[in-house]
């Protein structure tokens, strides 16, 4: 977990998650260098983006001669997957979920219930 803040992959993902749409490497580079002490080189950013695409974290779309990069999944989806990872390994995950369900405010609970109901009817169908 060393150098969490300094990880270039993380910075690239952060920029792309914050961006309204797919970015070219040049746009990505401009946003990364906006508030950096040391400007990054074009090649560095392109290599990192390419590596992330190989790992399946980014998808690229052809745009003229260049590529545009965008995250394959939203940041929240990763958080959910990490959470599910933990909960399936915890021996008492049923109890955790029950305590969570009791703790959410009423309007969130209603929302949760709607989602669950939709999912239940999907499962039946």
């Amino acid at each position: 977990m060393a150098g969490l803040a300094g990880s270039l992959e993380r910075s690239v993902m952060d920029v792309l998650w914050a961006a309204p749409g797919p970015l070219r490497v040049r746009e990505l580079l401009a946003r990364l260098n906006e508030n950096a002490d040391k400007a990054l080189a074009y090649n560095t950013v392109q290599t990192v983006a390419e590596r992330l695409a190989q790992k399946g974290l980014l998808q690229r779309t052809q745009d003229g001669l260049a590529f545009r990069y965008s995250p394959t999944r939203a940041r929240e989806e990763y958080a959910v997957e990490l959470m599910l990872d933990v909960l399936t390994d915890a021996p008492d995950h049923g109890a955790i979920l029950a305590r969570f369900a009791e703790s959410v405010p009423p309007e969130d609970a209603r929302h949760l219930l709607d989602v669950l109901r939709r999912r239940a009817s999907d499962d039946w169908a």
Binding site: E9, V86, D89, F100
Partner: protein, 312 residues
Amino acid sequence: MIFSLLALIASAVLLGCLAGPVLDRFRRSAIAPGTAVVCWVAALAGTVIAGSAVVVVALISPPGPGHGLLEWLRDCLPHHGNLAITMAAIATLVLVTACCLRLASGLPRLGRAVRHRRRHREMLRLVAREHGRHADVLVLDHPVPVAYSLPARQRGIVVSTGAQEALTDAELGAVLAHERAHLRLRHHALLLMLDLAHSLLPWLPTVRRAKSRLPLLLEMAADDAAANAHGSRILVDALCRLSTAPGPAGALGAGGGHGAGALVERVLRLETSGAVKPRRSVRIAACAFAASAVTAPLLAGAVAIVDLSRVC
């Protein structure tokens, strides 16, 4: 020769079949969880050592082809009849196949667990934030209140935003102390070894019972460390608001099987543990058991193997 063999078989049977049920008998008040963990780990290690020593002895006992390795050095093959050599060869083949099958089912499991853990850590690195005040803590944006730990050189503890909201500062401190105890005492490594032993020898009573008992004992040992530092009242309050698990080790399958009862047992123990203190003699006996559980099969195995290498 015959004595060392008998001692080896006896230690394998005692550790593999009897140690677990006996350890399981001890009530939680009689023995501190830390001491119990040591006993269980020693019993597991002894079982695995005795089991592998029995296999090795069976492979190199005359007139099996494995003994041929020794005989090669000493050149004494003609003593044994043809029929005996054939039978021993068949037995060796069966034994080697069985061992290979067990290893083939156990080792990929270990690899999967390690890969799973690495992937989890990579995702965390992309998504989680650093905690402002605690250098070893990562924060994950999610409303479900969870805290867990991962073996990592830095920032091994993960706390969800839901947990941060649910806990007071003092309670968070107790939870962090609990997770730090998991990391300091290498509980993740123990769980991984437990899983490996279980996939190799799942039918032995000691291994089976360790699988169902040890995870809870590890939680209790970490509870003790946290309660010593922050008081059991605060820890109990914190535990009731969230669950603290030693992270996705890939070792604890979903069928861990003790469900919500585990938390109840931990809380009950913390609330009553001031009253009953484990006796010193129990601790000494436990340490003696742990030491002999590992050394006895090691010694018996070594002596039996050396004896066999002298026989023709």
